[in-house]
């Protein structure tokens, strides 16, 4: 498996895009299947592509029908509660990643300060006049 970092953007190269589509679609279906089995829950996936007239689905057209029927019996408000589209989903991811970043920076700051403290204790840094006057 390649471990190159893939840019999160539309792939303009036709053959690369098609190859990626094949691989990732297959991977996605596998993940849906695993989730459904491991957790014993209903699930389905529908993918429309320019390569096929009919959508690629999991588990099967009738299986999808079943899940959709169940989905449509759920009151609309409950459907919407956990429904996301690309925009909303990305916004959630951005928020979460930002929080992770803040935490990481905090950790790093602590490490920096702890090390600075030990340097001071070891006589490495002296408190003389501040290096810059009028810091703000």
């Amino acid at each position: 498996m390649t471990r190159k970092k893939v840019k999160l953007a539309y792939i303009y190269n036709d053959s690369a895009r098609r190859a990626t589509y094949k691989k990732r679609k297959k991977g996605l279906m596998k993940k849906v299947s695993e989730l459904s089995t491991l957790c014993g829950v209903d699930a389905c996936a529908i993918v429309y592509s320019p390569y096929d007239a009919q959508p690629e689905v999991w588990p099967s057209p009738s299986g999808v029908q079943r899940v959709l029927d169940r989905f449509r019996t759920v009151p609309q408000m409950d459907q919407l509660k956990k429904m996301v589209n690309q925009d909303g989903f990305l916004r959630q991811r951005i928020t979460k990643t930002c929080d992770q970043l803040k935490r990481q920076r905090k950790d790093n700051r602590e490490k920096e300060v702890t090390q600075a403290m030990f340097q001071c204790l070891g006589g490495g840094v002296s408190f003389g006049q501040p290096a810059h006057d009028g810091l703000e």
């Binding site: 953007a9 990732r24 459904s36 491991l38 429309y48 950790d107 090390q115």
Partner: protein, 264 residues
Amino acid sequence: MDNNRELKKSLGGILYLINTPCIIFPPSIWCLHISSSSSIYPHVLAMVSEKPAMGRRKIKIEKISKKNHLQVTFSKRRAGLFKKASELSTLCGVDIAVIVFSPAQKAFSFGHPDVDSITRRFLSGSPSPPSSGLPQLIETRRNANAHDQNVELTRILDHIEAEKKYGEVLDRMRRADRSRCCWESPIEELELHELEQLRGALEELKKAVAKQVSNILIEPTSSLPFLAVNGGGEGGDFAAKLEIDNASSAALPFNNFGYARKIC
């Protein structure tokens, strides 16, 4: 032995007081757990070992028996599944919908452009969506938004990578320092006389820091909480804290090796 314990407690207090000026967050996070097996910054170590991506074990694909495990797995895998679906639709420009029901019977769904249009399309059996006029314009706008967000997400992900690498650099330096200077080993490993030395040095340092801080700050020191006996880390003048933060980062002898950059 009692002496040791007392000394360790007061050392912990002093370490806390010295670090608080430069690290502003509530004292509850700063429990130094000196009696535990971890070292001076145990909660940082704890965070490192609680990394979400840790522990890749091979599991059998059959229904999970333990309820807790099942629910945790569902949460994580559902999020990962939606992430994959999102990436597939971005990278390959395809329309997609994923619907899953949770163990608690809640309906989760992800759709691009949106769940309802895909389900309608599926149920009606017609293969292609409208490709002209207003729907097309909306589609284009939507794709442009998604693109911008992906750009931003990538930017933040890059930042995290940089910060993580920087964190590893810091860890390596710390381990190198440890082997050189006896003071810096975990507190448990120090003898009584070493602890006493350390405490003396820390108290001197605390005085020096307080003096330096008051030199740097514009405002007088009465509002600074960390100089109180049992320094609370919260409350106090927020503007003063911000100054301390900026001042201390200017005074620290660190460049971050080009890794971490200031963001938003």
